[in-house]
């Protein structure tokens, strides 16, 4: 299946997609008990009477989970409800210790939000509705492949806080679904409410997919696609499932309302073996938890305390720093990178130069090491100082690269490194002339042609001098001296 084939299908058929996104909230303790929510502990060691569902244990709500969920809901422009109700979703599964999951059902925390995911070809903005955001608890983990004939249950994750973000069926292409997820992830990163890492399971996506002929206004039968484990996987799975559905509809068939599983290795969707209609979750209000009541003043404070979100930051970077859209996107992709850049730009003064360094050397280093910028050894003030050294003629641009390389390793201030490593720029005529002489001896032909008037060879000669000086020569001064020496 190629992109072109999908384009072809989309001429006559419309894809209708809504996404359900589960996001793990970054709290220290679980949502209904004070057990640690940290990963990696020995199986069932982060458990207590509550998350083991021992007889007589009761849930108590974690204030931090409410706060993080509220922040997420407000950032998605939802209306946060002053009263929301926890409900029990009843089903049996060994990693669901109570036999029900505490979630929210007909009165969720927040409703009616939206996410802007860019614009169409005609420049009209694409707005994806957010139906609801609600708080719920995670299940434990089932390990199927460790013991012969047995599934192993670890309840360390049981009871860690999640929010579920349900979109309206507003997505029309796989690319839009991908864009929605990327925008969502970025917003949540800016809010610092979650690690939002799909590989590690702190962000999970299920997709509701249906197809209909162009022009139809009613929704076709939908399937729910599960087991999606990456953003690109979501896009591919949507394409495959949509194509399958159109194939069925085109020959007059009916799409069965069922759960499909995406297989990333084979690139196929296949029906899960679950019998439809056999799940009846028998939701009812959780009697162990009174309604969650949030005052309007508290909600307003949460709104007020929201950090600057990606869209606002992009707009501001474009205006305040006169950066082009590409630079803005790169610099704001990650909130900590954006803050890093901004700190360098403010200290140093020239945003364009700061942007080039951050987008170039800094991001390259981070990509190479896989490290996060929060642990990067070159702090913004030190980078700004390095840029000052360059613009002040203390080190050359070339030497600055080397200094930067040492800063990444040692974390030492740039001046100190430049001095220690002998990378301070040399503008002493005698030394520069000695280097020039050396180059002229090594490259007599080029020197002669330059002397004869072939000016474009100046660059070659300067480069050779720079190299010979270990980057220390002041290139402007070298240029002057070359002219004075060879053309005088």
């Amino acid at each position: 299946m190629t992109g072109a084939a999908l384009e072809q299908l989309l001429v006559d058929w419309e894809m209708v997609v809504g996404l359900e996104v589960h996001v793990q909230l970054k709290t220290r303790t679980k949502v209904f008990c004070p057990c640690s929510a940290e990963f990696g502990a020995a199986p069932n060691s982060n458990t207590c009477p509550v998350c083991l569902a021992l007889p007589g244990a009761l849930p108590v709500l974690n204030a931090k989970a409410v706060e993080l969920a509220t922040r997420a809901a407000l950032a998605l422009e939802c209306t946060v409800q002053p009263v929301s109700i926890f409900a029990r979703k009843n089903y049996f599964y060994p990693d669901s210790p109570k036999g029900y999951q505490i979630s929210q059902f007909d009165k969720p925390l927040a409703t009616d939000g939206r996410v802007m995911i860019g614009s169409r070809a005609d420049r009209s903005p694409i707005r994806i509705g957010v139906t609801r955001v609600h708080i719920e608890e995670d299940a434990g983990k089932s390990v199927h492949d460790r013991y012969a004939g047995a599934t192993a249950i670890d309840l360390n994750r049981a009871g860690t806080p999640l929010i579920e973000i349900v979109s309206e069926p507003d997505l029309r292409t796989p690319e839009q679904a991908g864009a929605y997820l990327r925008v969502l992830k970025q917003i949540l990163e800016y809010l610092e409410v979650s690690d939002v890492n799909m590989e590690q399971g702190s962000l999970r996506v299920d997709a509701n997919v249906s197809a209909r002929r162009r022009g139809e206004t009613t929704l076709g039968a939908k399937t729910e696609v599960k087991n999606l484990n990456s953003f690109s996987g979501v896009e591919r799975a949507l394409e495959v499932e949509f194509t399958r559905q159109v194939g069925v509809l085109r020959v007059g068939g009916t799409v069965l309302q069922e759960t499909m599983l995406w297989d990333a290795t084979t690139g196929e969707v296949r029906p899960s073996r679950a019998k439809e209609g056999s799940h009846d979750y028998r939701y009812f209000p959780e009697p162990d938890l009174p309604p969650l009541i949030l005052s309007l003043a508290w909600i307003a404070k949460m709104q007020h305390d929201l950090p600057e979100l990606p869209a606002a930051r992009r707009a501001r970077f474009a205006t305040d720093y006169a950066l082009g859209p590409y630079d803005v996107d790169v610099l704001t992709a990650n909130p900590r990178v954006a803050e890093y850049f901004e700190s360098v730009a403010r200290t140093y003064g020239d945003a364009k130069v700061a942007a080039n360094w951050v987008m170039g050397d800094v991001l390259a280093q981070l990509r190479a090491s896989g490290a996060d910028i929060s642990t990067f050894r070159v702090r913004p003030a030190d980078l700004a100082q390095l840029l000052d050294l360059v613009s002040g003629g203390v080190v050359s641009r070339t030497a600055a690269r080397q200094v930067f390389g040492r800063m990444v390793v040692t974390g030492d201030p740039p001046g100190q490194i430049a001095e220690r490593e002998g990378l301070l720029q040399v503008d002493d005529d005698a030394q520069l002339l000695a280097w020039i002489e050396h180059v002229v001896e090594e490259m007599p032909a080029e020197a002669e042609r330059f002397r004869a008037g072939e000016s474009r060879l100046q660059g070659v000669l300067i480069g050779a001098v720079m190299k010979h000086s270990g980057g220390r020569a002041d290139p402007r001064k070298v240029a002057q001296l070359l002219v004075a020496q060879l053309r005088a």
Binding site: P49, P94, S142, A274
Partner: protein, 102 residues
Amino acid sequence: MPISIADVHHIASLARLGLSDARAAAMAAELNGIVVHLDALANVDTAGVEEAIGVGARGAPVRTDNGPPIPLERAIDAFAPNLRDGFFLVPRLASHESADEA
């Protein structure tokens, strides 16, 4: 609305209660003997009446995001029916088997 034996099997399945046909039939009879009295509720005019949620409650109290955890005075292996390497073991499920199949 009488409850049929098939209904009993359905709800028993939702509740994970294995019932023989004979027991299901007996349960159907007993449940119908109860439900006939519950039908009195249908005759009450409850237009405009809110459902009772959290009787006498003033809103959920919250706790701070801190430990310590509620201690277990006895280790899990003191009560778990089948524990191995710290895991609770249950009969094997396929990795994508859902709650409905379990």
